[in-house]
Structure formats: C-alpha cells, structure tokens
C-alpha cells in the first residue's frame, strides 16, 4: 500500500480492499430497484381514476441515497482491511538481531507491551532471514548471575526462549550483568535492540557503550505515562498506616490507589494517593482499627502488577511480641488458678506471647509482663535498663509481691495488702470506678459485676510522679503507672488470678491488657539468636504474586535478615524462622524508585518509547461510521415513506445535524445534576416527601458513602416498614433549611468544623422542634464526650467533645440498656455500623422519658448500611460482615422509627398491666 503512505496509513489486511470493486455493482443494483411506493387509502380515488392517464413514470433511487449506501459499504471494506493511522514500523536494519531484554521489577507493569515489541522485532528479523540472539538482564530465582548466551538462534527458538521469560522481583543487577557481559564476546555488526527499563546509572551506561561498540543500538524505553509505581515505605503510626508511594518518572499528574487485603484476598481498605506533576513520591495515611490492622496480609497498588507495588505482611507485622516472665513453679497442674493462664488467654488474639526468664525476653519483645513475683536486684537492673530504652513492663500484684515488695513499682507498696468481703472483714468487695478521661482506659465500659476483694495497696505518700489509670469506686488506685526514661512501668494492684478480683473473668481485663500493650513501642530489632536462619516459605514473582519457592533456594543466613535486600538468591516473599514468619519485601524500601538517574546514551544510539508506536487502529472508528450510516439510511428510508419527496431530500441533512448537535447523554445528565436548586425548589422537593437527609461535608468520598448508606437504608425501610422515604438529600447547613427532615445524619471527620452562630442556632432550633441529629464520627474509636467546651470562634474544635459542645443543649450520656432506641422497631442490644461494639450517646434525660434530639456514635452507621448496586457492602464491615450489616440496617430502622415515633414504643412497658386490667 505504498500509495497510501502519504497519509501515514497502513493496512494489516490489504486484500480486503478488493471488495471496493463491488461498489459499482451495488450502484447498478440500487439504481434499478426502485423504492416502494407510498400507500394511501383515499376516498376520492374515483376522481383519480377518472383523470389518471396511464403513464407510470419509472422511479429511481435518488443519487444521494445511492452515495450514502456506497459510502457505508466503503467504510465496512476499509474497516475490514484493518488500517492503522500513523503507523511507523521500526526501521529495519540488515544485520542479525541482538535483543536485550531487561526484566527487573520495573518491567512487570507493562510486560505485555514489551513482549509485543520483542515479538515484532523478532518478526522483522525473521522476514529478512537474520538470526536472533537474546540477552536477558536478570537471572532466574536462585541463580546468582545472568548466564549469557549470545549465539544467534533462528527466530523460532528465539520466540520460544522469549515466551518463558518473566520479570523478576528485584532491582536490576547491573553490576552482575556488566561483569558477565565483559567476559562474554559481544557480536559485531548486529542490530541491537535494548528493551530498556528506563533506569540509568553508571553501570548501565557502561553496558550501553559495550553494546553500541560495532553495533547499531536502539533503546526502547518506557513512555513517561507507563512509568512504574512502587510502594517505597509502609509504616504503622499508632492506629494509622502511613504509606509513601513513588515512581520512576515524575512527569505528569497521576492518581494511584493503594489496596489492602486480608489473607483470603478480600479487600479491607483502599486509599488514593495523588502525584503532583514533577513529584516522584506521594504520601497517604489511613486510620485502621487494631483488629483490622491485624488482618492485613497484603498491600498493592491497583493496576500495577509488580513486586515493588505489592507488599506482603509477615507475622511480625501483625502481632506485638509480649514476653511473659515465667514463674518458677509448675503452673500446669491447676491452670484456672494460675495468673499465667488468664494473661495468656487475654493476650492471645492480639499478640504473640512468649514465656521465659527475664534475660531471654529483653531481646526482641515489645512488652514484658511480670506476674506476681518479687524480683531479684539483678532482674530489676535488667528491666530498668530495658524500660529506659523504651520498653514497657506490666506487673501484677499478688501474694508474693505483697509479702516482699521490691523497688520496681510505680508507687511504693504497703506490705500486707487489703482484703474486703472476707470472713473477718467489715467491707464488701468493691466495684471499679469509672475511668478518667486522661487514662488510656478512657471509654471502656465498666461492668458492674467486676468486684475487687483483695488488693495490694499503693502507699499514698509515694503517688507523686505516678499516674493513676484506674481506681476503685472508693478511690483506691487499681492501676498505676510511671514513666521511666523512654519507657513505661505499669502496675496492676490486683493479681491476674481470680483470688483477688473477678477482673480476670471479665472482658474488661482483655481490653485493658490490649490498651496497655498497644502503648508499647515497636522493637523490630531482630532477635540475635536466629541460628537456623530464615527459609523461604512463599516467594513473590515479578508480578507480585506469591507462589511456592523453587527448590534449592538457600534462604537467608543467620544474622543477615536486617541487611538482606531482595536479590536472585533471596527473592521477596515470606520467610519462616523459629520466631514465626517474616516478610521480605521489595516494596517498602526507600531506595526502590527515587526518580531516574540520568542516562547518557552513546551518540550512535536511537531511543524510542515502548508500546506507543503501534499507531491508531481505525477499525472501530470505521465500523462505527458504517453503523451510523446504516442507521441514517434506515431513518431516511422510513421517512421517505411518510413524508413528501422534497422533505425527504432534506431528511438526511436534518438527521446528520441532529446527530452532531445532540449533546451526549452524560453531558446532559451532569448538566442536570450540577444545576443547583433554588430555595423554593429545594423546599418543595424536601417537603413533598419524607427524605433522609445528611450534612454535606467537604469530602466527596464521605458524601458519596453517606448518600449510598442512606439510600440503602431508605430501601430497607420501604421493604420492611411502612416508612417509604424518597431519595436521600444532601444539606448545606449554611444555606439550606433543615426543618423538613425528621433525621439529619452528620458524618463528621476530624478536623471538626467550627460552626457559625446561625448554623448553631439552626441546629439547636432543629433539635428543639423535634428533629433527630445523628452525629457519626465513623472511625470506630471510643467516644469521649465529657468535658467538651464550646470554645472560641475561629479555632476549629480540637476534640469531638468540643465539637458537640458547640450545639448540644443537653448533657449526653451513654444509652441505657432499656432505651427506646433498643425497641423502637427491632429489639436490639447492640448498634453496629461499619464497626461493632461502640457505645452510643444520647441526651441524658432520654434514658428516662424524654426523646433524645441527638445521637452520637462512632460506629460509621452509614458506611455500614451502604450497599453497592450489586448488593455487596461498599466497605468491609468489622468484624462480622453480612450479619453485622443486617444489624446495622436494623439499627438504622430503629433510628428512623425513633425519629418518627419518639417514645411511643416505651408505652409498651405498660402493656402487661393494661392487659391485666382488661381481664385478659
């Protein structure tokens, strides 16, 4: 198709163009097949019959209809010939082909493009009958250096070698390649095509010089848009995950999604990072509850199947390592009276517990727990030193400590201890007091059945400098703590066994231990005693998939774990050692992709971009044009039947204009959506039907989720109750009137907004006049609502308590167990949303008889309700899934019913009495 080259088009199936010869035949055929006449039923036909002279003029297809149909056919024929616009086949040389394939991790994301380019090059070599030599930059897993075989093969053998090639999960081993290449004999006079990974450097330049010597070198580098992305760090900060993503080529803006999943591959969370133009890195941060954090098995950048974009989490990530100092006596005999038993049971779900003597535990543990024990001076010295370096020690009191107090306690202890409720004492067992807001235990509910009967008392004179985290109802300290250096010493003034209290039986014990252990810093220093080294259990391939390790992988020798970098001998993956599994990741290394080092090519080399020279495929466009013409033809033919002739001639033009002028549907729709409602329209819409409303926040993601959640809840209400809400409405507190809505759902996220005076007034009027305001922080964290101050205007409220204090007119308190909300439609004990088990706050007097105008929760109700269009939860629910979502809906239904009926249901408590009076 040389004659078409001026318009830079080539055909992949040029023989189909022979079909163009059929066009004249079509012309002839259509000209002699007249179109069907118009049919008319006409009463005055007798007049026509009288005046009709029998000259039937032969009618023909009009020329423009013919042209239309010929054009249609031409489009189909050209389309089938598969034309490519702007297609420039790579300049073909005349020597044999030396194909250099980079296959480090950077090549994985666009591996297919690379393979296609390589195939095309081999095809060209085959056409000119040249041999092909293949040089692969990275060795297979388990082989230290690349084996270089530069002999020229026929194209068939080369294709075979190419087909088994895979990207490798490590950074390019340029030094090894250079060394191997220097030892090999590089052929001369060859066409060298290097499918380059885009990363420069001194050694790479050396390799390029070596390849260019005596050869024609063409480098195919990645296009800027195809630059690979990597996770360059992933760390835990408290209850948040901080990740940093990076890319090789910093040009252009980009938006990438980081997805976290559990061991089964189910998504747990996702977050989006934005790369600014010119920025090689982007950071993102995400809050996850500890329970979810423990489930993480993998993080990956969506759409980037490469080892550097896939992060595997080992056991070391999941659990804190807690050392439990072993008692010298045999505790297996009577497990239920042993303090060790309760501590182990409480810690097992969250942490990795190891038991041993103190000296063994100071290495590699995050926290050390000392059950009732009087420590030797040596042990005290070891522990003190360890604490001051940042460790956390939790001690339990008990008979032994009470008998012989030592110095390593937050406060001095009174010898002997205190006993209540025993045969010879006056006192009864004492329940726990509420936790102070400053205590780490703040927000934990105190069960009434936890009672302390014996205690080792802190000396009140020594409380200076110590913190009291928990106390009994009578004010006696129960948990005390003291900061020492960088670390923390915590003391529980009861034993971990039931002799002292019922605390070890309760769930509170587990929660308290969890909170304490969470306070410990992370000590990732590897234990020095890994003698056996680490053996590979699962190995990541170049695309970031975990698989079985190949036989004969040496593993990572003892003591080298921290310095090991993914390499052919130690590919990334999960490694198993005596201390459990740990993950070796290519992702999460700072040096992984710090922007491209400059690359100086030899002057003779040519550089091209991979995957962007295939040209524009015109086939879909031509077929679309043909379909459009066909539709046009149909419309025109149809209209010709109905319309007088002259109008029909204008029809194709009209249709064409219509097609061109009709705005695309999506545009039209978005135009409709963007049209703001006038206040009147808004009021009419809001008042016309029952709407669930939500406060539009600044975050579109939150708004979408909330709207989706309320939509799902509306559907559920319509399905299950006689409440049939219309679509949820977003409310702008500054502008919109909120009086129309029975429920106003507010998903607030920090930073909490400072509300203006009119808004506060509006909210207070809303709550006073019967509206129900639902404030949901959605983060699953325990609520702290006491002590909030409305604060000055200007500065944003620091805490949720301050935020709520801006507009709350009544004191809030945790919801009572028999609150109307528990029975307004379903009978409920728990009010889960996205998170389960959170306390719900209502106005204090609603626990008596009043209707609460406000509900504060952190359960993420809307997120828990939200379902996608294919009936799947939009966000994963923690911990339960489908069952929890069902209960979330029930919670929502109760909430709406409460808003609509108030305390109506509490009348039911009198029902038995009423029935009795009726004589039933």
């Amino acid at each position: 198709m040389e004659w078409l080259s001026p318009i830079l088009t080539s055909f992949q199936a040029p023989w189909v163009l022979a079909g163009l010869l059929a066009l004249p035949a079509l012309w002839w055929l259509l000209r002699h097949q007249p179109p069907r006449p118009q049919h008319v039923d006409f009463p005055a036909t007798w007049i026509i019959a009288r005046i009709q002279d029998r000259e039937d003029t032969p009618t023909t297809t009009p020329w423009w209809l013919l042209a239309l149909r010929a054009l249609l056919l031409a489009c189909v024929i050209f389309g089938l010939a598969r034309p490519l616009l702007n297609h420039r086949p790579a300049a073909a040389g005349d020597g044999p082909l030396l194909l250099v394939m980079d296959n480090d991790w950077t090549t994985a994301a666009h591996w297919q493009d690379r393979m296609q380019t390589a195939q095309a090059l081999i095809d060209q070599a085959e056409q000119r009958g040249a041999g092909v030599a293949l040089l692969v930059s990275e060795p297979p897993v388990g082989q230290e250096a690349p084996r270089i075989d530069l002999s020229f093969l026929n194209s068939e053998a080369a294709r075979e070698r190419l087909s088994i090639l895979e990207p490798r999960p490590w950074t390019a081993q340029r030094a090894a390649l250079l060394k191997a290449l220097q030892q090999a004999r590089v052929p001369q006079g060859a066409d060298v095509h290097w499918l380059w990974n885009g990363v420069g450097g001194q050694e790479t330049e050396e390799i390029a010089r070596l390849l260019a010597k005596g050869n024609r070198l063409t480098a195919h580098g990645p296009a800027p848009a195809d630059t690979p992305y990597a996770i360059s760090s992933l760390e835990e900060h408290g209850d948040a995950l901080a990740a940093s993503l990076s890319r090789l080529d910093p040009t252009g803006e980009a938006q990438v999604t980081l997805r976290f999943s559990d061991a089964q591959g189910n998504g747990i969370a996702r977050s989006v990072a934005h790369f600014a133009d010119g920025a090689a890195t982007a950071d993102l941060q995400m809050r996850l509850p500890a329970e979810t954090m423990g489930k993480l098995a993998r993080a990956e950048i969506v759409g980037q199947a490469s080892a550097a974009a896939s992060y595997a989490f080992g056991d070391d990530w999941r659990r804190r390592r807690v050392g439990l100092v072993s008692l010298d006596e045999d505790t297996d005999a009577l497990p239920l009276t042993s303090p060790i038993y309760y501590i182990k049971r409480a810690l097992a779900p969250m942490t990795q517990v190891e038991t041993g003597p103190i000296d063994d535990l100071t290495d590699g543990m995050d926290a050390i727990i000392v059950p009732d024990q009087s420590l030797t001076p040596g042990a005290i010295m070891t522990l003190t030193e360890w604490i001051e370096k940042g460790g956390l020690v939790l001690r339990f009191a008990g008979d032994r400590l009470a008998g012989r107090p030592d110095q390593l306690t937050p406060t001095d202890l009174r010898p002997g201890g205190r006993e209540m409720g025993a045969a010879m004492t006056w006192d009864k067992p004492v329940p726990l007091g509420a936790f102070d807001d400053k205590s780490p235990f703040a927000g934990l509910a105190v069960p009434e059945d936890v009672k302390v009967s014996r205690q080792v008392l802190a000396d009140p004179n020594s409380l200076d400098g110590a913190e009291i985290w928990a106390q009994l109802e009578d004010g006696t300290p129960l948990v005390t703590a003291r900061r020492m250096g960088d670390g923390l010493l915590v003391m529980l003034h009861v034993g971990a066994d039931p002799k002292y209290s019922t605390l070890p039986y309760s769930g509170l014990f587990v929660e308290m231990l969890e909170r304490v252990v969470k306070l410990s810093g992370r000590h990732h220093a590897a234990p020095a005693d890994i003698d056996a080294g680490m053996a590979a259990r699962r190995v990541m391939d170049g695309f970031g998939r975990l698989g079985e390790p190949p036989a004969g992988l040496p593993g990572i020798p003892a003591g080298q774990w921290d310095s090991s970098v993914p390499s052919p001998l130690a590919p990334p993956g999960l490694y198993e050692g005596p201390q459990g599994s740990r993950a070796l990741n290519l992702a999460g290394r700072r040096d992984i992709a710090g922007g491209p080092a400059g690359m100086a090519w030899p002057p003779s080399a040519r550089v091209e971009a991979i995957g962007h020279d295939t040209g524009v495929n015109l086939l879909p466009w031509l077929i679309a044009a043909a379909l459009l013409l066909f539709a046009l033809d149909l419309i025109v033919s149809f209209m010709r039947r109905l319309l007088p002739r002259r109008a029909a001639a204008a029809a194709p033009l009209a249709v064409l204009a219509l097609v061109c002028l009709t705005p695309r549907e999506s545009d039209a729709q978005s135009a409709i959506q963007q049209q703001p409602l006038t206040p009147e329209e808004y009021a009419i819409e809001a008042a016309g039907e029952l709407h669930l409303a939500y406060v539009a926040t600044g975050d579109p993601g939150t708004n979408r989720l909330t709207e989706r959640g309320l939509q799902t809840l509306s559907n559920m209400l319509s399905l299950r109750t006689s409440v049939e809400p219309a679509r949820p409405m977003a409310v702008d507190l500054e502008q919109d009137d909120i009086a129309f809505f029975p429920v106003l759902y507010w998903a607030v996220t920090p930073p909490y907004p400072r509300l203006s005076a009119p808004v506060i007034e509006k909210l207070q009027r809303y709550m006073r006049t019967g509206g129900l305001l639902v404030v949901d922080t959605g983060d699953g964290a325990p609520l702290r609502l006491s002590g909030g101050v409305a604060g000055p205007a200007g500065a944003p409220p620091a805490t949720l308590a301050d935020f709520v204090a801006q507009f709350a007119t009544q004191p809030l308190s945790p919801m009572a167990r028999d609150h109307v909300l528990t029975k307004s439609f379903y009978l409920l004990q728990d009010f889960p949303g996205r998170w389960a088990g959170q306390t719900v706050y209502v106005s204090a007097d609603s626990n008596e008889d009043a209707v609460s105008p406000i509900i504060v929760t952190s359960s993420g109700w809307a997120a828990g309700w939200a379902m996608s269009n294919d009936n799947k939860p939009l966000v994963p629910l923690v911990p339960d899934g489908p069952r929890q979502q069902e209960y979330a809906w029930r919670t929502g239904i109760n909430m709406v019913m409460y808003a609509l009926t108030g305390t109506y249901k509490s009348d039911q408590v009198h029902l038995p009495a009423l029935l009795e009076r009726l004589g039933q």
Partner: protein, 302 residues
C-alpha cells in the same frame, strides 16, 4: 400519518367514550351556534321554531273555538262558564299544535372514516358532531328530530340524540332515500361526503320535492380530498371499493384533480338547487360553526 385512522366500532367500550366526547362537543357547538352573532345581523325569528298552529282544533295550548256539546264528548270537557251564557252546552276546543320535524341523515360509511395528516379528526367524527349539534339546536327550539332512513320515529326530546347514537353506532348503511312516511311539514338534512352518490341525491331531492319537503346538503370532506397534497410515487386505494390507482408522480396530477373537485362541487350545488335545497361544502380542516350556521339559517328561512 397519511393513513386514515379507522374509527373502531367493534370494541365494546371504545364507542362509549367516543360518543360521550362527540356529544359534549356537539353541545358546545350548539350553544355557540345560538349565542354567536349572526352573519347578516338578521335576528332569527324565534317564531320560526317551536309549535306551529295547524289551523284546526286539536291538542294545543291556544283557544280555537267553542263547539256544541255532542254525545260522545266527555262531560268533563264542558266549559261551564261559556255554557252558562246560553241554553246550550259548549265545550272549549284548542288549536292543534304540532312541531316541525327535522330528519337528519349522517353518513358513517367507510369513506367517512378517512383522516389525512392535515385534519385533526376523521370525517365521520366531524359529521357526527355536526349532526348532534344540529339536532340539539332544533330540539332546544322545541322541534322534533329524527334520524332519516332509520325507520324510527322522531322525538322532541333528547331521546332523539340517544336514538341517533343507538342507530349510528351499529349501522353504517342508513339510506337517505328512505323518506319518512308521515304528515305535515318537515326538513331533510343530509350530512356526508356524497362520494359517488350523485344519482341517489337526484332521486332523493326529487322524492322530497314531491312530498313538499325541502332540505339541505352538508358535504363533509377532508382537506386532503380537496387539496390533494401528495407527491411522488403513490398507490391510492379506494376506501369503499378497495380499487387501486397507481400514480407515478402525484404532484403532476394535482391541478387536474382540483379542477375535477370544483366541477363536482358545482354539480352537487346544482342538484340541491333543483329541489330548492341548500348546499355547503365543509372541510374538516376548518371550524364547524360556519357551515352549521349556514344550515340553520337556510332551513329557518324556508
């Protein structure tokens, strides 16, 4: 669009709504007819309508004569006041009064179902509205109305409308040459398109003349039948005979068609005049009030 919309007579429920609509439209039309100012500023003499004295004794309101009491007369008929003036018994007789009867014929045949894209309703519907409006107009003035050719009697009440509906809903073959047997004066009003009915019309006019009945021809045509707005290759099918005419270039035929149509109109007008009848051609593309007024004006002055 150009295809006539077939009015559906067969479905059991459809005519009810159709007839209700037609009757209400007729009602409005009849009111407009009585209310609107007349074209020639000539007030319609109300005396022209209603009961007309027969100049003989009979049933009526107006006194006619006293007559000597005779044997078969009922005693209750004796006018005692008049009898007291003399020795004889008199009975009071009133003048016989009868109403004028208007016999209306409405064509509902297949050709009347035609409706082109230029008209908003079929000829049949328009003809029915005109028929009902005419009937209402005369009934309101105390006249009797009957459906010509149906073989039924006339009414002076709204029952006439029910009868018209009753008959026309089922029958499309009512023959206007079937003149009523009866006494007294009357008027004949024919509403239809009169396609290929020239001979029958001549016959009817002659029959009526013999019976001293005058009448009126109201021809209802579709605008398409008058203007012939067709182009290109068209195949025409006769709505009555189903005979077909294939026209290669319809636009070439238009001038001759219109000429022929005018010719036909003149012919119908001549037929009407021969019996002292009136004739008006009405297009369904226009307002129905003017032809109706022409009709009432005409029959009122005869």
């Amino acid at each position: 669009m150009a295809e006539p919309r077939k009015a559906e007579h067969s479905t059991p429920w459809r005519p009810v709504t159709r007839w209700a609509v037609l009757r209400s439209r007729a009602q409005i039309l009849a009111q407009a007819l009585s209310r609107a100012p007349r074209a020639q500023e000539r007030p319609l003499s109300t005396g022209m309508f209603g009961n007309h004295g027969r100049r003989r004794s009979g049933m009526g309101e107006v006194f006619w004569q006293f007559r000597r009491y005779q044997q078969p007369d009922a005693a209750a008929m004796i006018d005692w006041r008049a009898s007291a003036k003399s020795d004889h018994l008199f009975i009071r007789q009133r003048e016989e009064e009868t109403a004028q009867t208007y016999w209306i014929w409405c064509d509902q045949s297949a050709s009347m179902q035609f409706q082109s894209h230029l008209a908003e309703e079929s000829k049949a519907d328009r003809a029915l509205v005109l028929t009902l409006a005419t009937a209402l107009f005369f009934l309101e003035r105390g006249e009797r109305v009957g459906l010509l050719g149906s073989g039924r009697k006339s009414f002076s009440t709204r029952a006439a409308l029910d009868q018209i509906e009753d008959v026309l809903r089922t029958r499309t073959d009512v023959d206007f040459t079937n003149l009523p047997i009866g006494h007294g004066s009357g008027r004949i009003i024919l509403i239809g398109d009169f396609h290929e009915q020239d001979e029958k019309l001549v016959h009817a006019v002659r029959l009526a003349q013999r019976r001293r009945l005058s009448g009126f021809l109201l021809q209802v045509l579709d605008p398409a039948e008058i203007d012939f707005p067709y182009d290109g290759h068209v195949q025409f099918t006769d709505t009555e005979t189903r005979g077909q005419e294939d026209v290669g270039r319809a636009e070439a035929l238009r001038a001759r068609y219109i000429e022929e149509m005018d010719h036909w109109r003149d012919k119908l007008s001549a037929i009407a005049r021969s019996g002292g009848w009136g004739y008006v051609r009405h297009s369904t593309g226009r307002e129905p009030l003017p032809p109706l007024r022409a009709l009432t004006d005409f029959v009122a002055t005869r």
